[in-house]
Symmetry: C2
Amino acid sequence: MATMSASAAVPGRPRDPQVDRRIIQAALDVFGDGGWAGFAMETVARRAGVGKASLYLRWSTKEALLTDALAAGLVRVSDVDTGTLRGDMVELATQMLELYAGPSSRTALRLNLEAGTIPGVAEHYEAMRAAQVVAARAIVHRGIERGEVPATVSVTLLLDTLVGGAMMHALSTPPGKRAILTADTASHARRLVEFLMHAVTAPVGSGA
Amino acid sequence: MATMSASAAVPGRPRDPQVDRRIIQAALDVFGDGGWAGFAMETVARRAGVGKASLYLRWSTKEALLTDALAAGLVRVSDVDTGTLRGDMVELATQMLELYAGPSSRTALRLNLEAGTIPGVAEHYEAMRAAQVVAARAIVHRGIERGEVPATVSVTLLLDTLVGGAMMHALSTPPGKRAILTADTASHARRLVEFLMHAVTAPVGSGA
C-alpha cells in the first residue's frame, strides 16, 4: 500500500504525464475488476502507487476521473486516417482486436455494461460513443470520395461487420489461444478487411 | 415480498413448467442487474414471486440455478436448421439482435463479462460456448455441402461478421431507437445476411 506523497500535493508543481498515465490505467483496471460499485479514489490511488492527494490534485471527483479514463480507454477512431479505406479499416479492426483480446477486455466489456447507467458519467460516455460513430462513418465516406468503394455501399453494415467482427473474433478466441492472436492482431485484421471489401466491391448478380 | 409457499415444497408434487420459466427469467434478470455478487436464491425467489422452498426443490445451489438459466438465456444455435444457409444465418442474426437490443441486453453483456470467472459456473459456460461454436460452424458446413457457398469460404470470418455484426448493430443503436429495431429484427437480419453472402459468393478479382 502506497503512503501519501507529500511532494505531489505541493501547489504549482508541474504535473508528471507519466503519473497521469499510471492513474488512468489504474482507474481502468479498478473499474474493470469491480465496476462502479468498486470504484473508489483510494483503491485507484493504491493501484497506481500514488497518494490520494495526487489523485485529488488532478481529479476532484471519481466521476471526473472515470470519464477521463474512459476517453483514454476507448478505441481512438478519430485519430485513424492512413490515407486509404483499407488502411483505416485495418487500423480500426486492429484496435478492436487489441482491446477485446488483451488484458483490457474486462474493462471494455464492463464499459458496455455499466458506463451508460452511471450518473455523471453516462452523458459523457454517450457523447463519446456518438463521436466515435461519426468518426467511423467519416472513414467510409472518405473512401467513397476517393473512389475506393461505390457510393451505394451500406456504411452501417460495413462498420457493424468490421467492428463487430473484430470484437466477436477476440471474444470467441479461447483464453489459451489469445496470446497467439494478440501477438499478431494486424494479420487477422487484414483478412477481415479483405473479406468485407470483397462484399462491397465485387459485382452484384453472380454467386449461388 | 413473496411468502413461503408450503404446497410447492410437498414431495412428489409435479413441477409446474410455468414456474420453472418464471424462476429462470428472474434468475437472468437478477444476474443482469447485480451480477454474481448480487445473485442470491432469496432475491431470485422474490423476483419470481415464489417461495424459497420452490427454488430449492428445483435447484440445490445458486451455481446450479445460474448454469441452467445461462443455458436458457443464450442464443439457441443448436436448434437452428431451416434447410438453407441464408435461412439459418437470418435466424442466428435475428436471435443476436433480439438478445442485445431487447431487455435481455444487460444480462447478455454481463454473461460475457462474468460467467467465465464464477467458480462452479465457468466450466459449464465454457462448455456451452464451445458447443455453440461447433453448432454455428455446422450451419456453414451444411451450406457448403448443399453448394450454397464455395468450399473455400472462411467459416470463421463469415460467422464472426454475422454474429458480431448483429451484436454491434444492436449495441450501437441509440436507446431511443431500439424499439424500432426490436419491432422488426428480421428485416435488418436479412440485409446483413445479403451483405455477407455477397462477400462469399461474388467472384474474386473485380472491384476497387
